[in-house]
Amino acid sequence: MKLFREIFDDWLTRAAGIVFVLIFALVIFNIYSDLPERYPFFGVFNFGMVPVLFIVGGIIFFLAILRS
């Protein structure tokens, strides 16, 4: 816990962590769920969110590297 507290002690690293968890959850959800195929609008949102989150994560990553 102490280790986690140390790593996530600023908002940028916390944001990077949240983005990573979201991408991971989305990819796993898309592998196992058939909801995106059954509801194409939901599918567009779901599948499209992965690259969007990656770009957001990339920006946060560089800001966090620069700050640390």
Partner: protein, 374 residues
């Protein structure tokens, strides 16, 4: 001294976390990107996302012989180049849907469709076709007995390797070039047939000679392929009459029901302004039997119910008022019953040889088919 060391350690841990999550993020992006690509290539995406635009195409596709072939296998094909091109050409289409500015009905032929040699011929091989094909066409008269008529013809499908190819599929084995003078490719002005030595036998439309120049031929000519005849191989809009005939022949509609062909076709042709109206007309068929044939209704009530259900299905395949599509919207080039088809060239274009008698491309019926009794 100890504080900077602790700080450095903390920064190192942060950096390791960021680098590891960044690397894992790239792997997830690759997986997610592949999923996105697969999804945008799916039939659900093409057919259901742009629901109103694609509704007629998607509906008849599901009933077609190619319903197990994904849209992208014909509309995009294999390889990265066409994949990227299709995604780029899709952007204006998305814009047209978002701004409600798309054409109703969608115009054909699709301009940037990949050559059939790279799509159709991934499964079909015209060089392996051979011989004739017996086609039996069953129709029913709109009378009390739904009188059956079977028309059997033998089609000279032919095929074969380039040099030995014959009959209808010779057109694909040989190098046949043509010049369409209109966007729908119904008005053909010139045809050139290449022989194995590189020579070109040319045929011209006699009444369009002023429009045909060597420059135009060079610039606009197309190599004939499968879709020049099989242009509605998948998005097949059949008329209510054809669909009722098929349902009667398949036993989905009981042909012993008096006047069922006439009742079914009358409810759906001419096209109804809405699907609801078409369905209410079909429901009224029950009243027709109640008023005119109460004994038939009593004895064959279940058959009438089945016929009504099947006719509702036919209504869904023929009623597309939102996109202004009917069975007459798109010309089917196969044969010559729904459009000029073969006669776009046969019997119309003539060889142009100096001093020689002009000879038209043969239009004899027996070139393509003959009756079974012959």
């Amino acid at each position: 001294m100890t504080e900077p060391v602790v700080e450095n350690k903390k920064h190192r841990r942060k950096l390791i976390f960021l680098l590891l999550s960044g690397a894992a993020g790239i792997i997830l992006l690759v997986i997610g990107g592949y999923q996105l690509m697969e999804f945008t290539d799916s039939t659900d995406f093409c057919g259901r996302l742009c629901h109103q635009v694609m509704y007629p195409e998607y509906t008849v596709y599901q009933e077609s012989p190619h319903s197990r072939v994904n849209c992208v296998e014909c509309h995009v094909g294999y390889g990265g180049g066409y994949f990227v091109r299709s995604k780029i050409s899709g952007i204006p289409q998305v814009w047209a849907v978002l701004t409600n500015s798309y054409e109703r009905p969608i115009t054909t032929p699709v301009k940037n469709l990949r050559p059939a040699r790279e799509t159709c011929e991934q499964c079909h091989r015209p060089e392996r076709f051979a011989g004739d094909l017996v086609i039996s066409h069953t129709t029913y008269a709109p009378d009390n007995a739904n009188t059956e008529r079977v028309d059997t013809r033998i089609m000279r499908v032919g095929g074969g390797e380039a040099e030995a190819a014959r009959d209808i599929h010779w057109h694909i084995a040989a190098s046949v070039w043509y010049l369409p003078l209109d966007a729908a490719r119904q008005d053909i002005g010139w045809v050139g047939v290449e022989d194995s030595s590189g020579g070109l036998a040319e045929y011209f439309s006699p009444d369009k000679s002023s429009e045909i120049t060597p420059e135009r031929i060079e610039k606009e000519r197309r190599l004939m392929d499968c879709v020049d005849c099989h242009n509605r191989a998948t998005h097949v809009y059949r008329s209510p009459e054809e669909l009722v005939d098929t349902a009667l022949a398949q036993g989905k509609i009981d042909k012993t029901l008096p006047y069922i062909k006439w009742q079914g076709v009358t409810a759906l042709d001419p096209v109804n302004p809405s699907l609801e109206l078409a369905i209410s007309k079909i429901e009224a068929i029950r009243e027709f039997y109640r008023n005119n044939y109460p004994d038939v209704l009593a004895a064959q009530g279940a058959s009438i119910d089945r016929a009504i259900e099947e006719l509702k299905n036919i209504a869904r395949l023929t009623t597309f008022p939102e996109m202004k599509v009917t069975w007459e919207t798109y010309i089917d080039n196969i044969g010559h019953q729904k459009g000029p088809g073969c006669f776009r060239c046969h019997g119309k274009l003539e060889a142009r040889q100096a001093g020689a008698e002009k000879e038209a491309i043969d239009a004899d019926c027996s070139l393509c088919h003959y009756l079974a009794l012959q």
